[in-house]
Amino acid sequence: MSQDAERKLILPSYRRDDVDAHPPLLSPGYRSTVTRAPQQPLTYLPQRLTEVTGPLLGEGRLGELDHDLTRQHDGEPLGQRIIVHGRVLDGDGRAVPHTLVEIWQANAAGRYRHTADTWPAPLDPNFTGVGRALTDAEGRYRFVTVQPGAYPWRNHDNAWRPAHIHFSLFGRAFTQRLVTQMYFPGDPLFSQDPIFNSVRDERARQRMVARYDHAATRPEWALAYEFDIVLRGREATVFEDEDEDDDE
């Protein structure tokens, strides 16, 4: 094989996650995992073309007000108005630019606008609870929404989910795809929540908790939280000279 042909088949490589980075699929405290978690060990998949590429979904998917969950109806939703902002980074602290961020959440009363959510808390006619944004060139995103409420969920006796916002991220490769939840600092419901605690490592767990960000609040208008999301980084060795031309 010629040197040129060999070079053409060199692929980027993404770091494999540490064992404790993500929750074990079988986490019996979260009852639904008991019948849904695979029993066989996962099979090692080398990262090839399909894994190191991925959908780069752009502006065409976004409406003008998709980032502002408080302006999607005729009136404003009830609840504490908050700004949720942050950066999408890779494991080396590099920005992940122009990547789609999707969020969804319960309303201020802890009720989802969903047929399967029937607990007796009110829906809000002015709140759907879905948002989308693209990160900018520095990996930044920003949403305006209301503080979601906690809600009961029958997993165990008197079980309540801590307030959270669901986040879905693509990154730039199939290997980086991530769905997570953002929690709020100091929530007294953490201790009894098996989903939050399915992440065994305390430091990893804290990466799902946003930081109250007084500097980003808007006086007389909204509180603010900062939530950075870290996707898997690339192995360092492969990219000696790629930084110059991979920005777009």
Binding site: L9, L11, P12, R16, D17, A21, H22, P23, L25, S27, Y30, S32, T33, V34, T35, R36, A37, P38, Q39, Q40, L42, T43, Y44, L45, P46, R48, L49, T50, G54, L56, D90, G91, D92, G93, R94, E102, I103, W104, Y112, A116, D117, G129, V130, H166, S168, R172, T175, L178, V179, T180, I195, S198, R203, A204, R207, M208, V230, L231, G233, E248
Partner: protein, 189 residues
């Protein structure tokens, strides 16, 4: 290079995933009316055999020429061979656990060590009770390249057929068994 940051842990999409992740055009990897397009359908069941009605499947694949319109395809990003080809599909399961994706067969792919990967889609499965996505691959029946595919070759021969779609009336069927007998092979990427 800066110091390595810890990755943000995965969490389940929960039962209300449809609020945030439903796209009207989600299942359409290629538009309706595309020549050679078919439906890839399948049913997701749990360890008790019950339908998983609150899950979502996402697919990613090369175009029929085996190319990706992506800057990290070292052969060069290239607009797809099929008009409107997105490469990506997203489909939620219905009240009986079925998902459906409208796509075309991808081409075979070269590997860094001179092998050829047989045509395949990669799938992520999200759902209530899944704290992290599950990753699997869909291969197509009757492809000569399946016999030498470097990924299929690494899979326990007894379980290899869990990665093979079956012919169906309007395309192919690929069922996903999360747990237990005939459990689908899931991958660590």
């Amino acid at each position: 290079m800066s110091e390595s940051l810890g990755v943000t842990p995965a969490q389940t999409v929960g039962p209300y995933l449809h609020i945030g992740l439903r796209w009207p055009d989600g299942p359409y990897v290629v538009p309706e009316g595309t020549a050679g397009a078919f439906w890839l359908r399948g049913r997701i069941v749990d360890g008790t055999g019950a339908a998983v009605v609150d899950a979502m499947v996402e697919s990613w694949q090369a175009d029929p020429d085996g190319r990706f319109d992506h800057p990290d395809d070292p052969r060069g990003a290239r607009p797809p061979a099929v008009a409107g080809f997105r490469g990506f599909g997203r489909a939620e399961t219905d009240s009986e656990g079925w998902y459906a994706l409208h796509t075309v067969k991808p081409g075979p792919l070269p590997t860094f060590d001179g092998d050829t990967e047989a045509p395949h889609l990669t799938l992520s499965v999200f759902g209530r009770g899944l704290l992290h996505r599950l990753v699997t691959r869909v291969y197509f029946p009757g492809e000569a390249a399946n016999a030498t595919d470097p990924v299929l070759r690494t899979v326990d021969p007894q379980r290899r057929d869990t990665l093979l779609a079956r012919p169906a009336a309007d395309g192919f069927q690929f069922d996903i068994r999360l747990q237990g007998e005939h459990e689908t092979v899931f991958f660590a990427v």
